[in-house]
Symmetry: C2
Subunit: 442 residues, 2 copies
């Protein structure tokens, strides 16, 4: 408990002062003090998620995150909620495929209280059987809600189709049969195996005091034994398609191509290319498919990443009769961009990423999230200046080559939900991505 922290370093960042301390057992504390801000954002990020589960465990990381709010040795579920809301703050959590985060927002004077609650729910949850029974019902309702939201559920199907029979492809909520089965012992075993100090980061930003948080973290987490958490199985993109007929007004469509993960510097190129393709109103997809043809209301491209894998995904919602035309056009536009992205388009995408990042950094919550995530991905806090320099360094030629490389590989996922009879065969999408379509290009 009273061992000295091993490492403390400070580095100036745009607008904030970042400090990082690692406790003897590997637990890390990163803070960023922001001037002129009276509130704070604080949380613990844990390097565990659905991709660390076995088939039988699928859904437990998420269920466990729910159970953290259901009572500790000192606090009932109601106490947890009342204590943070009494000071006007709030507490929440999310589970993704490789990270589970528990975080709170509050005025600066209430940071110690928020820390105490977060530490308590992470170290002293009781997994009361009665509370587990109730929470099962809540999660089964959450699964129902996801299924009722077409542009939510299709992203689950996308991940499953891209990475079939792999942990990283499984849904975060898990199947209902697993949710019905988990008991106290399952949660305890999962915590013991995956909630290790080396995979935990306390990250805070805004009106925060680094040294005070280090002392609190040492007291609350310093007694945990140093041990590594199990690694996740590497992702292997397979690709494929899933077309689900349903009586909906729109066909909700996704087309995705495999791109590198966060640990590959090329992930920045993928983000730039996604922005130029469909990141704004001036992007090719928006202009060609919505503005020139009126085929959809929503269309956008995004590049999302895990440590070792990523997907460049185009989403659009359109009518059943327009689905085939839209899907073909999306593929054609990608092929065309791979051949003739202009320097101006790439400049614009760079400006969008740069300004978007700078504006995002004005919020304490974004700072806390970014610092924690870069620590997980790169083992250090990556200063915004470094990311900005990486964005600036992607040339037009690099963007073209990158897009040509992924468009011509033949690896893709196609998902559609709603009136899907008009969907194009996957082979045709692949051919048009490669610049074919009858009138082929290179």
């Amino acid at each position: 408990m009273d061992e000295a922290p091993l490492v403390t370093m400070a580095s100036p960042q745009i607008g904030g002062q970042v400090e990082l301390t690692e406790l003897a057992n590997g637990f890390r504390i990163v803070t960023e003090r922001m001037e002129g801000i009276a509130s704070a954002s604080i949380g613990v990020w844990v390097g565990v998620g659905a991709r660390h589960e076995t088939v039988e465990e699928n859904g437990i990381a998420h269920f466990l995150e729910h159970m953290a709010f259901k009572g500790t040795e000192r606090r009932s579920a109601l106490d947890i909620a009342e204590e943070i809301e009494r000071v006007g703050g709030w507490i929440n959590a999310y589970t993704s495929r490789e990270i589970t985060a528990y975080y709170a927002r509050m005025l600066g004077e209430d940071v110690p209280l928020a820390f105490d609650i977060i530490a308590d729910i992470l170290r002293h949850s009781v997994f009361d059987p009665h509370e587990i029974e109730i929470e099962r019902g809540v999660i089964l309702q959450e699964i129902g809600q996801t299924r009722d939201t077409p542009d939510d559920i299709i992203f689950d199907w996308l991940q499953e189709t891209a990475f079939p029979d792999q942990p990283v492809g499984r849904p975060i909520l898990g199947p209902p049969e697993n949710v019905r089965r988990f008991g106290p012992g399952d949660f305890r075993a999962f915590v013991a195996r995956h909630y290790r100090p080396c995979s935990m980061v306390l990250s805070a930003a805004g009106a925060v005091d680094h040294d005070a948080l280090v002392r609190l973290a040492e007291a609350a987490f310093g007694d945990m034994e140093r041990a590594a958490a199990p690694r996740a199985e590497p992702a292997r993109f397979a690709g494929g398609e899933r077309l689900e007929e349903k009586a909906l007004e729109q066909a909700h469509y996704l087309l995705a191509l495999p791109v590198p993960g966060y640990r590959d510097p090329e992930y920045i190129t993928a983000q730039l290319v996604a922005t130029a393709l469909g990141g704004g109103m001036s992007s090719r997809l928006f202009q060609e498919i919505r503005e020139k043809r009126g085929l959809c209301y929503a269309i956008h491209a995004q590049s999302s990443h895990h440590a070792d894998s990523g997907l460049l995904t185009v989403y659009a919602g359109t009518g059943g009769e327009e689905l085939g035309e839209l899907a073909g056009l999306v593929a054609d536009e990608i092929a065309r961009a791979a051949a003739d992205f202009t320097a101006e388009e790439i400049d614009r995408a760079r400006a969008q990423l740069r300004a978007g990042m700078l504006m995002g950094l004005e919020a304490a919550s974004s700072r806390a999230e970014r610092n924690a995530r870069t620590l997980f991905m790169h083992g250090r806090v990556v200063p915004p200046e470094e990311t900005l320099a990486q964005i600036a360094a992607v040339s037009r030629d690099r963007a073209r080559d990158f897009l040509a490389g992924i468009a011509k590989r033949g690896a893709l996922v196609q998902v559609a939900y709603g009136p899907v009879a008009g969907a194009l065969p996957r082979e045709e999408i692949a051919a048009r991505l490669a610049g074919g379509s009858g009138a082929g290009a290179g």
Copy 2:
């Protein structure tokens, strides 16, 4: 064009410096300079929306907002998008029932560019017939998307059922048959009637310079003739119910009670009561219905307002078999709270509203929105301190009396979508809201 501005006043606010200028023709400019922020948020808020439309016009305010991005005398749709995205900014708009807003986010140095684009699309849109045809398709797709999102479409039905056969009850997107009919002349006539300088506010916050914006506004809007826009028909709550059967996983449920509008100081009491009832994890509805019984994943209460009307609404999603139990419990909890809200619950709701407001004010976009809205609602910029004092002044007794008053009136709206066979009769909900249900309370 070179008339002097009539009024300029400055008042200090929490964290920012607010300045307000009114041009000779009634057009107002409000800015709030925030220290330590390098970006800005700027927009023009216009006091027009769906409630200013006739039946035949329903949907035109929203369609017009779309057309603003489809080309001006100087700029094509692509130019508009490219110019703002070239500097990494973005531009967007929304249409509500009484306000249409056009706004942009960008780094501080690009404020003049953003202003120029917004002024251009507001004053010099061309309503090109070809672009109108294309945008019809986009909006028809948007209508389809709304219909595919259960927890979106039910809010349209709620408003229609609460205020039937009135402009304020009609859907913002309008019916497809109207969307198919609107032409250039309709847009021009609507703009001429409703886009008047007295109903327009330029609001900006962050890294902004008031005097520079006043000069720009004078040049761009100073030539508009001073004239009042037509007033909207007052809202008259009627109430009723709408139960729509559909094959969904969940029944999406809304229960709403009429509350005062923004111009009545009691709207603050309504917001406080909604927060205590269902504004967070410690609220009664969350605790009783999700935490104790596991009947839903999402449940929350909110109080939403127009100038002269409002609704205190509870939303929950649950299974078809649980719908009746859930709806009855929501009504019982409201009745119980009207009888026995504790001082601690009201204190907590006050703290939530206060801290939520202070944290919200850290974002330039929230400041710009708030200043514009209070100008519309109250004819002046209401300082946050004043709203905070109003929140602090609502006593426990006042909250109880207020809730008892609306719960016992018998006026309510009930909407359900999905497997709705188990819904309770509206009369039973009314009786339980009034404290009955067999075992009656006061």
